[in-house]
């Protein structure tokens, strides 16, 4: 699956998550509640559904593993709920403190997006992902807040009806942006800085591409970044590609149990080997090509 398609699916899943969040949270009559209790619920709901939706993309679309999808959804949803509450509470405070208006609205929404993005990144326990998530999320929130405020002012006369629609639009936008922008940010920043992609050439997941962000594991375990099910002689965690300051290094995984990994038909030493553009990695009977792009 191409990177562009992956980003697309991230955005669509995020948007659906946002819509679900709006629908479920919108069933509660939060308008009559204490502001801060309502804010906590809305933040938790938004984070839960958007985080869960974006978290399951990897499992559903790329790895095609139901188990991975469920784990991703659960972790993403949990991290999203926590970061959503924090983000929306802080955003609400910022909105009031800055006196509202366009500045207040965009500031408040940026806070929400920022925290949701960080939460999404932290789930993978990679600081880089969290940083990309922060950038993507903040941008997502900013766009969402800007559009929300502009449309609110435009539809001021029909405020009641408009608010229902705008709530949905806002959450859908922030979900789509979070999913899409964070995925795109990871891709484009890493493309400029790190330049390392693993492309699966054979087996049931042929065509999948995985950009190496700090580290990529290859194996038949569905938590591996390069997931290779159904091959022969593929250990659960077979090999690991690491990003080093001077390039990419491939080493046998410590839990591979001696299963050999070949690069360009030569066995790699236990201490690892540097990867060059075009190298073919053989993991069991599946070939994966390393591309420096």
């Amino acid at each position: 699956m191409s990177k562009r398609l992956q980003i697309y699916y991230n955005a669509v899943f995020g948007a659906i998550g946002g819509l679900l969040a709006w629908f479920v949270v919108g069933l509660f009559p939060t308008a009559n509640w204490n502001l801060w209790i309502a804010t906590t619920l809305v933040g938790a709901g938004a984070g839960l559904f958007i985080g869960g939706a974006v978290g399951m993309v990897d499992g559903v679309v790329i790895k095609r593993s139901a188990r991975r999808a469920l784990i991703g959804a659960a972790l993403g949803g949990l991290a999203g709920a926590i970061s959503g509450v924090a983000g929306l509470l802080i955003g609400q405070l910022a909105f009031i403190a800055s006196g509202g208006g366009l500045v207040g609205r965009t500031l408040g929404w940026t806070m929400l997006g920022l925290f949701l993005g960080i939460g999404e990144g932290l789930v993978e326990r990679k600081m880089k992902r969290a940083a990309y998530g922060a950038v993507g999320g903040a941008l997502a929130g900013f766009i969402g807040g800007l559009i929300y405020e502009v449309l609110t002012q435009v539809f001021l006369k029909d405020s009641g009806a408009a608010q229902i629609f705008l709530g949905a639009l806002g959450l859908v936008l922030i979900g789509a942006s979070l999913g899409g922008i964070t995925a795109a940010a990871t891709e484009f920043i890493a493309r400029v800085i790190d330049k390392g992609v693993l492309v699966v050439k054979s087996g049931s997941r042929a065509g999948n591409e995985a950009r190496i962000v700090e580290r990529a594991r290859l194996g038949s375990y569905d938590g591996c970044e390069v997931y290779l099910p159904g091959g022969q002689g593929v250990a659960r965690e077979h090999a690991i590609v690491l990003k080093r300051p001077d390039g990419f290094l491939i080493t046998p995984a410590p839990t591979a149990g001696g299963a050999p990994t070949l690069v360009n038909q030569r066995l790699i030493p236990p201490s690892g080997q540097k990867l060059n553009d075009g190298d073919t990695i053989a993991v069991g009977n599946i070939n994966v090509v390393f591309q420096a792009r």
Partner: protein, 416 residues
């Protein structure tokens, strides 16, 4: 030239004898907006006449209210001294207050204020020097307030900004018409917060600050000469303006009593008007309020506080989910056309030289993927090789002896 001079002088004289600006219209000021029970909004309005005296006895019908230009329906009205006040009396107790009877004057003024309290009013007393001390938290009991006022003693430094900031905190659970009356005679030389921070803090809680500067201003030649210092008029004015309050310069302490009296009476005759917002949605927008009484208009504004308002209904949900579901399925429709992905699926066989067949004509050994025999040139069609090749190790691809149980390249156990 003479004529011009005459005209100028005549005009000047005319302006002197012209009547003072006709202030027959009252002035209307919205001192506070309470939107904590939105969409029910309560505003406190003070109406003063030409000479600055409070206008009593107005009825609900005398007031015209609009929010964002739209007329509103008044649902509650309190006038004629019914409004309950909550006032924090903040008093300077720095050493300079000991001179010229300033502290005594301040105490007398505060006691007068307490005397004028009605049963529904409450007040608090805060005295400050370097730090602010709450002499008496909010209470309706005049006796407690009186003893708190009497027990104010002197100390060093003046930190009125910090004192103001802390006084705001006293109003945490207080509702109703609020005010802070703060009195100082010197420059702030010890506060941690700035003028803007303190003013902002009070403004956000909707508490007007009536700032009183007692004695000499710091800019006055007199105070500079004696080195006694004075209060900073600019800071006090800034605080007053930012909180919709007022600044009062009072030269001598015996004038304080009258001022506190008029403040008490003025505030007690505020009108509290409650209405339901004509646009009662949680849209997080700023609303402007305009009040008109007898030709004079005052106004204020408030912010509807919701950053994000979420309310759903099934129809909108259905309408919005459809395009998203289409977006989800769309790529599948496109990729179906390409049966084979663009990337090559064929595995790379690392041992292309594995010997697997012989030429049908000359029986020379032929390489597996050869199309013609290398010896005699006869076209050769190889049998399809099952994947993986049976005599190649699946782990390291080394060719195996037939019947091998273990690979002699990597030692892997083979499935037989």
């Amino acid at each position: 030239m003479r004529l011009l001079n005459l005209v100028v002088i005549a005009t000047f004289l005319l302006t002197l004898t012209a009547p003072a600006r006709a202030d027959d219209t009252p002035t209307v000021q919205v001192t506070q907006v309470d939107n904590s029970r939105y969409p029910k909004v309560t505003i406190y309005v003070s109406v003063t006449g030409a000479g600055g005296q409070v206008v009593n006895g107005l009825q609900q019908a005398d007031f015209k209210l609009t929010e964002d230009g739209a007329p509103v329906q008044i649902t509650g009205f309190k006038g004629g001294g019914q409004v309950a006040l909550a006032t924090a009396l903040v008093i300077d107790r720095s050493r300079s207050m000991d001179e010229e009877g300033k502290l005594n004057g301040a105490k007398q003024a505060a006691l007068t204020f307490v005397d004028l309290m009605r049963p529904q009013d409450q007040a608090a007393v805060v005295a400050f020097a370097r730090t602010a001390r709450v002499m008496q938290p909010f209470t309706t009991n005049p006796a407690q307030l009186q003893s708190a006022i009497q027990s104010i003693d002197l100390d060093d430094s003046t930190a009125w900004r910090d004192a103001l900031y802390q006084a705001v905190d006293l109003f945490a659970t207080v509702t109703g018409r609020r005010a802070i009356i703060i009195l100082t005679d010197g420059l702030d030389n010890a506060s941690r917060v700035s003028v803007s921070e303190a003013a902002d803090y009070a403004h956000r809680r909707d508490i007007p600050v009536y700032a009183i500067g007692l004695g000499a201003r710091v800019a006055d030649a007199a105070s500079q000469a004696t080195g006694l210092g004075g209060y900073d008029e600019q800071s006090l004015t800034q605080v007053a303006q930012q909180t919709a309050g007022k600044f009062y310069p009072v030269p001598t302490a015996d004038q304080l009593k009258a001022l506190y009296e008029s403040l008490a009476v003025g505030m007690q005759h505020d009108y509290a008007i409650t209405y339901r917002s004509p646009r009662p949605t949680n849209d997080g927008t700023r609303r402007s309020i305009d009040v008109t009484v007898g030709g004079a208009t005052g106004g204020s504004q408030y912010l509807e506080t919701h950053l994000l308002n979420v309310r759903s209904n099934a129809l909108t949900g259905l309408l919005l989910i459809l395009p998203l579901l289409v977006a989800l399925i769309a790529p599948l429709a496109f990729t179906r056309r390409r049966a084979v992905p663009a990337t090559v699926v064929r595995p790379v066989d690392p041992r292309p030289t594995a010997v697997a067949a012989t030429c049908l004509k000359c029986h020379a050994p032929v390489r597996a993927e050869a199309r013609f025999c290398a010896k005699c040139g006869t076209p050769y069609a190889p049998a399809p090789i099952a994947q993986p090749a049976p005599n190649v190790c699946p782990h390291c691809r080394k060719s195996l002896r037939p019947g091998a149980k273990f690979c002699n390249g990597c030692g892997a156990q083979l499935k037989v």
